[in-house]
Amino acid sequence: MLLRQIPFSLLMLFAIALMLLTATFSIVVGPMTISLFDSFKGLTPWANELPTHIQLVIHQIRLPRTLLCLVIGAILALSGTVMQGLFRNPLAEPGIIGVSAGAGLGVAIAIVVFSSIAMQYPLLMNIAAVPLFAFLGGALTTLLVYSLGTSKNGTSVAVMLLAGVAIGALSGAGIGYLNFIASDQMLRDLSLWSMGSLAGATWASINLATVSLIILLSIFMRNAKGLNALLLGEAEAGHLGVNTQRLKRRMILLTAAGVGVTVSIAGMIGFIGLIVPHLGRMLTGPDHKVLLPLSAIMGALLLTMADMIARVAVTPAELPVGIVTAIIGAPFFLYLLFKQRGRM
């Protein structure tokens, strides 16, 4: 209650400042020591005064990676926030209900089916075919879970989670089968993707993710009031003049697109979409008009932090960032489940 009395503008300001600070540190941190001063300098027009190898590390590796972390984190958090609103259930999250797994199967199918064009047109493959298939996989999964688990009283947690388990298993089997029939080159692409890391950041993927983020955020914001009304229940939202069928369809497609983009670029990164909306609601309440922008910032912040941990925890090697988010997120999920237990 106390937390919610902090003015929203102050909260946003604080979150943005923290995000920028973390992003800066994320450029400083890494196996190669670059001083804070040099890191800053690397981001200014005076970067060319630095030794070439430092310039390269900053411009080719650390800056793209940090930017990608920020954008992917924001998309994951937004997708989670909207999905929880859509399901009217704070346990809905793309990873938990199997949407990420569905998107993952889409990615694997794309890699295997389009392997012949991947060599010739790598860009077309990476920013069109793979994300498109990830989106299709995610959208089908969301539709399936939604129609299975949602009644007029909201979503049954049990059905939703079980559907997630089943779809996860099915997608896992599908991906396993594709691995089994894949050629050497496909296998290399598959395993590269399935390691799911933010290390492979390219400007093409950053651009794709950024454009997606801008589109998602602007459409979500325009539907914020409708999403608020939907929390009352579908019938009630209808009585308030919200076209609930259209709203639901849009939100399902857009969250699936968000998940598809993140999964195709960075693999399956769980729990950001679960934790961030919760923290956001503790800070501002469930009103989507303020929750959505705050979630975007906090998601960016959290994934960048997780990625920093992933990079330094076992230097010189690197943990997949999904492991870090799972270590933070899974206990959090159990705690939420514990709290909701009475209502299952």
Partner: protein, 265 residues
């Protein structure tokens, strides 16, 4: 023609079949401005289904001659958000579990309206006051009792209708089910005063005596048909009640007011 214009809603031949069973059997009904109409009937009579069809929540079974007009216009002639400014519906229960504050819940009712911040605050205060919940305004909704929640949603619906002008339809589905004695009467008094200001009010109730006290018109629904329709004195006779509810009753005049009182015997 002027009489026709007074209908907030008029429906013809509403048919609802679910799994081969007839829930509503060709119901035709007009609701008039300035009247409180209560809908009574035993469990499973089709009261909630009728309300849901009138509220556009569920669709009636397609039927050539069926028709629903809101303020003399078919639904498709209204834009969704426009109609929402004139029709408010209080559900029996809400599935809201997210931690909005009480004020925010009431503010959700203002969605179809475009009010300035100060106008909105003014309406929210007024409606919270009306349902006796102003002292709860900063509390979190999920932590309230069932009766408090019901009153907050009533305030939300009243806020939704705050700019409805001379076209107002208020439908309440068992609005007193979770309320204590004084709040039951307060809720129905608010409904009465809405009707006196020109609104058409439809209330689903179980308590025959509350219906007798507050309605201009009583409808008794049974087996998907309207069995009785008229003033409380006309509709609530011992004979009709016994036939519908299978319960022996005695109907007397209230000692100090002109409405019937029903005793089970």
């Amino acid at each position: 023609m002027t009489i026709v214009k007074k209908n907030a809603i008029s429906c013809k031949n509403i048919l609802l079949k679910l799994g081969g069973k007839v829930i509503l059997d060709n119901i035709s009904l007009d609701l008039h401005h300035g009247q409180v109409t209560t809908l009574l009937g035993p469990n499973g009579a089709g009261k909630s289904s009728l309300l849901k069809i009138l509220a556009n929540e569920i669709k009636a079974t397609p039927n050539e001659s069926s028709e629903i007009l809101y303020f003399n216009q078919a639904k498709m002639n209204w834009k969704g958000s426009q109609l929402a400014q004139h029709i408010g519906i209080l559900p029996q229960q809400s599935s809201l579990t997210f931690a909005f504050t009480v004020r925010e819940v009431v503010e959700l009712g203002l969605l179809p309206l475009s009010l300035s911040r100060s106008q909105a605050d003014c309406v929210i205060n007024e409606m919270l006051e009306k349902v006796d919940t102003l002292h709860l305004e900063a509390r979190l909704y999920p932590l309230l009792s069932g009766g408090e929640k019901q009153r907050i949603h009533f305030a939300r619906v009243l806020a939704q209708l705050s700019k409805s002008g001379n076209k107002t339809l208020l439908m309440l589905d068992e609005p007193t089910s979770a309320l204590d004695l004084s709040h039951q009467h307060n809720t129905l008094k608010i409904a009465r005063s809405m009707a006196e200001q020109g609104a058409a009010v439809l209330i689903v109730l179980h308590d025959l005596n509350l219906a007798a006290q507050y309605s201009d018109r009583v409808l008794i629904l049974n087996n998907g048909k309207i069995q009785s329709d008229g003033s409380p004195w006309h509709a609530l006779t011992a004979e009709k009640i016994e036939k519908v509810y299978q319960q022996k009753v005695e109907v007397l005049k209230h000692p100090s007011a002109d409405y019937p009182v029903v005793y089970a015997i």
